[in-house]
Amino acid sequence: MYSLLLILLGSVFFVGIVNRTKAIASGRKGSGILQPMYDILRLFQKETVYSNTSSFIFKVAPSIYFVSVLLSVFFIPFGKYPAILAFDGDFIFFAYLIGTGKFMMILSALDTGSAFEGMGANREALYSMLVEPAFFILMGSFAMLTGYTSFSEIYYWLHFSSDFGWLLGILAGFILIQISMVENSRIPIDDPKTHLELTMVHEVMILDNSGFDLGVILYTTSLRFALFGMLICNFIINGSLTFAVTMGGTEIDFTALISLGIFLGVQVLFAIVVGLLESFRARERMKKNPQFIFGLSALSIVIFFGILIWMHKFNY
């Protein structure tokens, strides 16, 4: 329950911080942190325009897309506080649920009968296919390490403190950041600020969406960022994190407060990192994207074997 509230909270300011960072990095003052949310609220009050070509799919897809991401937040734990929905193998459900949302968005892009949107849909389908193995192997490695297959339990038992575990932790964090960049179609895969349709991925898919639908889609992007922020944050806050102070004979547990602080810190840091990455890194050539994304799978295989070494499985 905590995680849902915190992720919803994080999603409110995440894109704002990214934008502000980018503005400051490029020498501008930038807009307020809540500006993206104001934009979305404004979109909610606007008239909706549909393409003549589109059908009912175009109308239902954004809602399903949003719900698929919202429901996948239900699976994310917060430190030792388990998620709302937790069962063995829930990360598979999580990944396929996000896939359902993508499926609908790709169809809705094709529904408009536009060449641009077909192109965007095609790229989205390709990239999401390529990035999925990286996520699964990463989670599979953690499942192997902890012996559990649900997000809540994996994160409860995940420790990177001993031996060289922290190395794997850093690598896993890096992979998760990159996966979130691919999933959200940001630099280096896609530049959300580009003005040329031919070079867009996600933006070009939603060219024809307007009003409420566009607002929902934009909010879903923030939500997804906050969700990945929570996934990374959980590397630090795990079940073993306790912080209690004995004061006047009574023990006061500060764990929740500390966890909250770490969460906010990680979210803000993640947003700033995304902003900096986007400021100082150019978008890859379209042809290079598959290589880059597949490279992430290779990195996650490194983690897999790292964990095998860590568990002393090599000398059987």
């Binding site: 009050q45 606007k46 008239e47 909706t48 325009v49 549909y50 393409s51 003549n52 070509t53 799919i57 954004p62 809602s63 399903i64 719900v67 698929s68 929905l85 069962f87 063995d88 193998g89 598979i92 396929y96 649920l97 359902t100 993508k102 499926f103 790709i106 169809l107 094709l110 529904d111 408009t112 009968g113 536009s114 060449a115 641009f116 949107e117 077909g118 192109m119 849909a121 095609n122 790229r123 389908a125 390709l126 999401s128 296919m129 390529l130 999925e132 193995p133 699964f136 192997i137 599979g140 192997m144 012996g147 349709e197 060219l207 024809d208 009003g211 409420f212 897999f304 499985k313 059987y316």
Partner: protein
């Protein structure tokens, strides 16, 4: 009613076939449905006790085929018969609408006859255990499906595709016969149960491999799959759905049946099936991403799903080898449930393709598009099928894939070797999932969405209720499995019991399965709720229609769209060596100042077929050409051959050589 009487009704329903020829055109189809219902009803009554785990033996005392005909029904055969019945009834009703398009040009008599025979043979294949009878029925199944494939016999290429199927099926039968003779030679038994004796004393690998090859030919594991895309693309759609959905599962039934008798070498066999399954899955779905023919694309997706089933069986067998009941149970249950799911989804998709063909007379994706406007129900049903086959929640495809994934994750706790196997299996299965999302968004988008690419697609009409109702029937079962998976999985896991004979029954925790159902239900409810909010907001703020964003250019919208070929292009670039692309195009020369119109044609061949099937065939036919000289059409020469033959025979007899 005694079970023997029911068996007689089942077998006797074949006697009703001749009546088809005396009925009016409108009645033939519905009469066939009636016959199918008799077969389905009687066989379902027979199998009901076995679905609960009971093994039944029924002797048909008066029917002697090398001894009295004996039906042996265990949970495995009951399960497959159930699947066959569901799909066949749906296809039979569908065919009544679908065949109307052909009523003028083709006589449906042979078609309906073969249809009843196909149903009957598929049911009987699961019932008999005597190998000789099994092969006879197996042959009836191949022959009747051959006739069904050949329905539009005057179309170009249909005969070739059907013959290709026919010949390959017989190569499969030869392999099975060899296995049978080997078995008979070693043990003297003519029954599947003789395998038990054989596997106890002999090595398990050789005979299993032979059976696997023979049954795998039917199932469509690579590299034995090459007949499937051809015959599925030319067969009438309800037949293609039936073949892809259930008939190839008979091959898997055979493999599972043999697997129940295996005594040792589980690890090798499990790894082998897993490996073949992974390759089949990846190869099938990869090729489906570039097909231009709607039905051929679905056929390749069938190959992919056979691969997934293979992965499940492989995981189950490995679990058995490791003596880990949970993994074995998850693998086999996942495989069986996927067989069931695919037998619902694939007919649904093929029925959708059939409705498209019915209304537009085309199955080329580049000529379709925009059908959602005139055929909204068909579109919706096809989208449900596409989501289910991609394994997306809240539909049934996810449940079976989830079980297989769970089995895989369980294997991660084993030793180092298993971990490495698991890494590759996980990688491949995830990739298969992603590729099928790519492939099915492409197909759905190009066929049903956007603007119509041809006049036929523009003028398409929604099909009749006879064609829509069977699809709804399948979708309802699919959604029920998706939302309430627990009771079904419990049943299927007991059905998998014959496969787990040496392993004690695992404590099968169904909490995560129940949670999947709940989460899926929650997903649907939240989506509806969200849509209602949207509906309210949009109604408050107003809505209107306008042209699609064209970046300032407003040309011919239908020609500007992304096509199926362009959608598949980046996949083609990534996996070029596997796609077998052939292109004929003459480059513009430097001296050609005003280039003339020139054709460009592209084609995608199956690389495995090109590399492994065609070269030996070409070599063989080149060698056979030498003998053509003998046959020169000269009567005198033929008389001379006869004379020489008689002389040689006489001489040999004289010298006691013969």
């Amino acid at each position: 009613m005694s079970s023997e009487l029911i068996s007689w009704i089942l077998v006797g329903s074949a006697a009703g076939i001749p009546i088809i020829y005396f009925l009016g055109k409108e009645l033939k189809g519905w009469y066939t449905v009636l016959l199918n219902l008799v077969i389905a009803g009687s066989s379902t009554m027979l199998i009901l006790p076995s679905l609960m785990g009971e093994v039944q033996l029924i002797d048909l005392a008066y029917l002697h085929v090398l001894g009295p005909l004996r039906f042996q029904i265990d949970s495995l055969s009951a399960f497959f018969i159930l699947i066959v019945n569901i799909a066949v009834i749906a296809a039979a009703i569908y065919s009544n609408g679908y065949l109307k398009v052909h009523h003028q040009s083709y006589s449906p008599d042979v078609h309906y006859t073969a249809f009843v025979f196909l149903h009957l043979s598929m049911v009987l294949v699961c019932l008999v255990q005597q190998l000789f009878v099994f092969f006879v029925i197996w042959e009836v199944m191949s022959l009747s499906s051959f006739l069904l494939v050949l329905y539009e016999s005057d179309q170009r290429g249909n005969l070739k595709a059907a013959l290709n199927y026919f010949v390959q099926m017989h190569i499969g039968v030869v392999l099975l016969m060899m296995a049978f003779i080997w078995l008979n030679f070693k043990t003297g038994g003519d029954n599947f149960a003789a395998l038990n004796i054989f596997f106890e004393v002999n090595s398990n690998l050789g005979l299993f491999a032979l059976f696997f090859l023979g049954f795998g030919m039917k199932a469509g594991f690579i590299p034995l799959h090459t007949w499937l895309p051809y015959s599925d693309s030319v067969a009438p759609c309800h037949i293609a759905g039936l073949k892809s959905g259930v008939m190839i599962k008979m091959g898997i039934y055979g493999i599972l049946r043999v697997l129940t008798f295996i005594q040792n070498d589980f690890l090798e066999i499990g790894l082998f099936i897993l490996f073949i399954g992974l390759l089949t899955g990846l190869y099938g779905i990869l090729l489906s991403t570039i097909q231009k023919d709607l039905k051929k694309m679905l056929a390749y997706s069938t190959i992919e799903n056979v691969g997934i089933i293979g992965i499940g069986i492989g995981i189950g067998t490995i679990g058995k080898a490791l003596n880990n009941p949970l993994i074995a149970q998850l693998g086999f249950t996942g495989a069986l449930l996927h067989i069931f799911n695919h037998a619902l989804i694939k007919p649904l998709l093929f029925f959708g393709a059939g409705s498209v063909y019915f209304s537009t007379h085309s199955r080329r994706m580049d000529l379709l598009g925009g059908l959602v406007k005139n055929m909204p129900i068909t579109t919706l049903l096809f989208i449900v099928g596409a989501m289910a086959i991609c394994g997306l929640p809240p539909f049934n495809g996810f449940v079976s894939e989830f079980l297989i994934y769970s089995g895989m994750l369980g294997l991660l706790q084993a030793d180092f070797n298993m971990d490495v196997v698991e890494l590759f299996a996980l990688f491949a299965l995830v990739l298969i999932g992603g590729l099928s999302l790519f492939s099915f968004t492409r197909t759905t988008g190009m066929v049903f969405l956007g603007n119509a690419r041809s006049r036929e697609a523009f003028q398409a009409k929604e099909v009749s209720y006879a064609m829509i109702i069977p699809q709804f029937f399948l979708v309802i079962i699919m959604v029920v499995i998706g939302i309430f998976p627990e009771p079904i999985i419990k049943r299927v896991s007991t059905i998998a019991q014959p496969l787990l004979e040496n392993v004690k029954m695992a404590e099968f925790s169904t909490t995560s399965i129940t949670s999947i159902g709940l989460a899926s239900l929650l997903f649907i409810l939240l989506s509806v709720f969200m849509y209602l909010i949207r509906f309210w907001v949009v109604r408050k703020n107003g809505e209107r229609y306008g042209p699609t964003w064209g970046c300032g250019y407003t040309g011919d919208a239908s020609r500007l769209q992304y096509t199926a070929s362009s959608f598949g292009d980046n996949m083609l670039q990534l996996f070029k060596p596997l796609m077998g692309r052939k292109e004929t195009y003459t480059e513009i020369e430097e001296t050609e100042i005003f280039p003339k119109d020139r054709p460009l044609s592209t084609r995608h061949d199956d690389v495995i077929e090109e590399k492994s099937i065609k070269p030996p065939l070409e070599y063989l036919s080149a060698w056979m050409v030498r003998f053509a000289k003998i046959q020169d059409g000269n009567t005198q020469h033929y008389i001379m051959y006869v004379f020489v033959f008689i002389v040689v025979i006489t001489l040999l007899t004289l010298f006691n050589f013969i």
